[in-house]
Structures are given as C-alpha cells and as structure tokens.
Symmetry: C2
Subunit: 190 residues, 2 copies
C-alpha cells in the first residue's frame, strides 16, 4: 500500500497555483507516493468569507488527518520566514507523530536572513548571543527557520533539504522539491 | 485540578524576555490556571548550536504534551505575519485536540496587512479575489493571519482576541493577553 503525503506550502497563493500544484502532484505520484494537496479540495460556495475560511481550515485538517506524512515547503514567503499556514500544518502533523520532511529553495538560513532583515546591523550580547539593533534575539541555530520547525522535522528522522533557486523563482522552482521527494519516497518505502 | 496552559509567543526573543514572560506567568497563575512557558525550560549547555536547537525543540514539545491548552500570541513578528515557531506550536496543540486561544495586539487583519505589504497596490481577479502586483493571491477572510491559524482556533470553540497596542509596544503590551486569558480561564473552568 503506497503511503500518502500531504504537500504543504504557499504555492496555493501563486498566480499559476493550479499549474504548480499539478506539477507537484504528478511528481509525487511518479515517486510512488499518493499526493494529498490542499489544492485538491472542493471549495464550498459560501458568500461569507469568514465562513469560507473556516470551511477550508476544516477540509485541510481532514486532508492532513488521512495523510501518512508531510512535505512542507518552508521557503520564505512575503518576508524572511515561512508561510504561517504551512508552519501550522507542519506542527499539526508532527503532533500526530507522522514522518515529516521539509525544504526551502533559499540557501540563506534563518540567522542570515534575520541579520539581512536588520540590514546587517547586529551585536553580540553578554552571553555571546546575536541581537538586532532593537535588542531582540536573533535565533541562529544553523536552521532554515525557527527551531521548532527545523527541529521538529529532524527529531522525527525527517530531512530538511536546502536548495538555491534563482531570484524570483523561489516559489516556482521544483528542483528542491524533487530532491526532498526522492528522500521522502525512499524513507516511506522502508 | 486547575488546567495548565502553554503560553506560546515570540516574547522569548525580547530584550526583556524574562520580565515579560514572568509577567505573563504571574497573570496566568492569578487567573487560576497553571502557566507552562517556553521560558521555563532549563536550557542545556551545548556547544553545538544545531544540537542546542534540537534540544530546545524537544523540551518545548514536551511542555506542550503536558499542557491542557494553549494561548498563542499571533502578533506580527518581524514582518506582516505571526512568529513561525508559535504557528507550529498552535498546530501542534490543535492536532492534540486541546482547547486553543489566540490573540494579536495589532488591529489590522491579515488581508489589510498584506495589502500594506504591497504598498496598497492590488487588483481583483476574474473571480473577484484580491491579488498583489505579483499576481499572488491576498488571503482576505477577515482573519488575523492565515486561515489555518484563525480557523483552527475558532473551530475548536476557542477565541481570537484582537487588541490595538501603541506602535512600538506590539510585543510588550499585556492588555490583549489579559483579555484572552480571562476568556480562556472561564472556558477552561467550565
């Protein structure tokens, strides 16, 4: 019985969302896994946007409940950090004890991106920890995002794959997804 | 037996983290709940920062596993969206079926903040959905952040409280936390 994998990520917001989601779905199937994609959901017709938001939340949780594993796209989205919905979903699947895999197409890690957010202005505090000009801690663990995300994956024997997409192609480049998919397919077949 | 509540949020990064975390802990205790705070953890002495990140991830997950509920601070952090670690933690607790409460001290909702991110430049697509100048969808559900977060809380009969802190005090103002805490304490006592 092939394992199913929930394909979490901000691709649903792309102008060519259907195209990119379909490409990920086809690649997942070709890797011998059953793709479960938030783009698969039948969006109910609801005039009230808040009620629509609740309905999509419920459908996506149900999709996760029946998935065996997750591959989360943690590529920075509209800023220096991963899409918040994807972060919720990764935590949701980790709590269910399911195998978790993640990737980013951006090579700069969380600490480097946070320093760039502060235009490179930072200092070491008395404990030797990096802080921004506002005095706030710069988490710098050599991880791709907050330690709960990267740590949650690695501690479940998952793998975090770091790619290096061309500027402007961070959310559409599929090379890194292919790499993490190959690793997930092998792990889930064992 | 008083219920325990995990106090998730980006306060751990503040320059006066200990002070703010202690204030939240004291308020929670005064409300008749047992506070469980990521600031409570005994951080192990590890030279390797990646290993330290994994250790903190494990400790925080263990703290969540023994908490009865969560209050998540979803105030925008270093950008237009909530702290990614807090989003992971909210998803983690929702998957465990635990009561979830959330708050933000910023009145502008997710749709409004995303429009501001695009400097107010957006258009409606053929389906009437708002899109930024890059063609990407602006999620606009009348929610404080991505629908998985706001929806996950509301669908579990939790409450999302929206405050309006003074500029610069978004992460230190405790007024909104007090409001959501009062609601959570009442709900968890029932």
């Amino acid at each position: 019985m092939p394992k199913s994998v929930y394909l979490a990520g901000p691709e649903v917001f792309l102008s060519n969302a259907r195209e990119v989601l379909d490409a990920k779905i086809a690649l997942t199937r070709a890797a011998g896994l059953v793709p479960i994609s938030p783009g698969d959901l039948e969006i109910p017709k609801l005039d009230d946007k808040f009620a629509l938001g609740l309905a999509i939340s419920q459908i996506d949780e149900e999709l996760m409940n029946r998935a065996d594993a997750i591959i989360a796209n943690l590529t920075p989205f509209r800023g220096i950090a991963a899409d918040t919905g994807t972060c919720f979903e990764l935590g949701y699947m980790c709590a269910q004890g399911k195998p978790a895999f993640a990737f980013t197409t951006v090579a700069a890690d969380h600490g480097a991106r946070t320093r760039a957010y502060f235009n490179g202005v930072w200092h070491s505090d008395a404990q030797g920890l990096p802080r921004g000009p506002d005095g706030m801690l710069i988490e710098d663990m050599g991880m791709i995002d907050n330690l709960m995300l990267h740590g949650g994956v690695v501690r479940r024997n998952g793998v975090v794959v770091v790619g290096n997409a061309k500027p402007g192609e961070e959310l559409t480049d599929l090379a890194t997804f292919k790499d993490v998919l190959a690793i997930a397919a092998k792990a889930l077949a064992d």
